[in-house]
Symmetry: C2
């Protein structure tokens, strides 16, 4: 495998830092090639603005159109271009981050906002009354797999089906389906550690062992069975899921997973 | 009303910029007081790091504990302190932003990550085997209301109950429930504009009129009926919703809304 690890935590000695280090050593020992985008160490620019596109202050900035023009012309900034090249190089992408306020830290959201440019990650393919792009199962990054490895401060029960935070699969859906599956990446079931606020050093060996097992079985792990947009499951042009395709009682985000 | 508008768009002449300007003029004309946090104009620092807490590089940074210590000692940075004071001053908070990858732009996530510090927005109240904090209906910001005003590029049907993006209420749940209701803010139904990728200047007068009507009826608008954590609806300590409280067939995020 050629694995890109996108890592977002400010503290190298954190649990997230340890899990990132363990991923590198485990995958390399198994003969895989690894690149790491350590966003804090890179001092990653998190905020999209006019300087990304060399726009002068007098013109009206449309982020989508400006990023698409820059992508087409090969004039995206060097930092963004390098990340796009890493994504094209990789066959597997691991995101290692803490859940902050039920989603990714700002620095990682800023990586998405800037790297997933128009014409690279969205605005790909025909957009008309009969087709709304090549996305959700098609797109620039098709053929790749991704895995979220996340830490959550609260206990697992809070993220269960009836838990107060909402089910973890639903909390991660906007990332897994909306960001990763959108440009064609298949998504493996996430590796989630709960209760990390109260975790001690004594808990780490078991955690590390579980993480190693996930890493060493990535190639045989089945992705989440999200439905492809353009292969018959959705009405055109509404992109409503056709009636009757889902198991009885299934609603919400769960509709967009088969079976 | 004392209204804080937190605004996150890089282009003053954008639709988001116009909606922000219209909110200011409409509310002021109606006799209300308005403050605006224009995150791009403020060059808001989006990324939490050790410099926020004057931590020296040799110590291991725990963001929660460091932000709580700084909050308690009154040593949070001036930019973060000012935003916390605005939140305490306001009775109504409007967030104006574009949906980028199904959630808020990085600069706004970074406002949350830094301003919603430990002991201010979380880690408030007793945390024991019989209570898990004062949150979801209690907390520092109780008595305030918030409204998301968001623009979405895609058409409304994509965000419907069976739409491919998932229902808009579910996409906004991690923000509305997980970020805003968590420290006690009541959440008004969002103002969502769809299809903004194809919107023209001709569409603007109707949009502006609809937005003005929402703004002028904020005080009589009923908040979303999220369930309070500590008033009998949840099992302790699992924080599972008690069986039988929900309408038949309700699942997922919807469980945490009454009625």
């Amino acid at each position: 495998m050629k694995t890109l690890i996108v890592y977002a935590h400010p503290e190298p000695k954190s649990l997230n830092g340890s899990l990132k280090d363990l991923a590198v050593s485990t995958l390399e020992a198994a003969g895989h090639t690894v690149q790491v985008s350590d966003l804090y160490a890179m001092n990653w620019k998190a905020v999209v603005d006019a300087t990304d596109f060399g726009a002068d202050a007098s013109s009206r900035l449309n982020v989508a159109l400006a990023s698409g023009r820059a992508f087409d012309a090969g004039t995206l900034t060097a930092d963004v271009h390098a990340e796009q090249q890493k994504l094209l190089w990789a066959d597997t992408i691991i995101f290692q981050f803490p859940m902050w306020w039920y989603t990714m830290p700002a620095i990682l959201k800023g990586w998405v906002d800037r790297v997933f440019s128009y014409h690279f990650a969205y605005g790909v393919g025909e957009h008309s009354d009969t087709k709304y792009g090549e996305r959700f199962g098609e797109g620039t990054l098709v053929g790749r797999k991704a895995l979220l490895s996340v830490t959550a401060g609260g206990p697992e029960s809070h993220y269960a089906a009836r838990g107060i935070n909402g089910p973890i699969d639903d909390l991660l859906f906007p990332i897994q389906h909306g960001i990763l599956y959108y440009p064609g990446i298949e998504v493996l079931p996430p590796f989630v550690l709960y209760g990390t606020d109260r975790m001690t050093d004594e808990n780490y060996p078991a955690v590390a062992e579980a993480w190693k097992q996930r890493l060493l079985t990535l190639e045989s792990t089945e992705p989440v069975a999200y439905r492809r947009q353009n292969f018959g499951d959705y009405e055109i042009p509404s992109l409503h899921l056709k009636e009757g395709l889902e198991p009885a009682g299934r609603t919400g985000f769960g509709l967009h997973t088969r079976g």
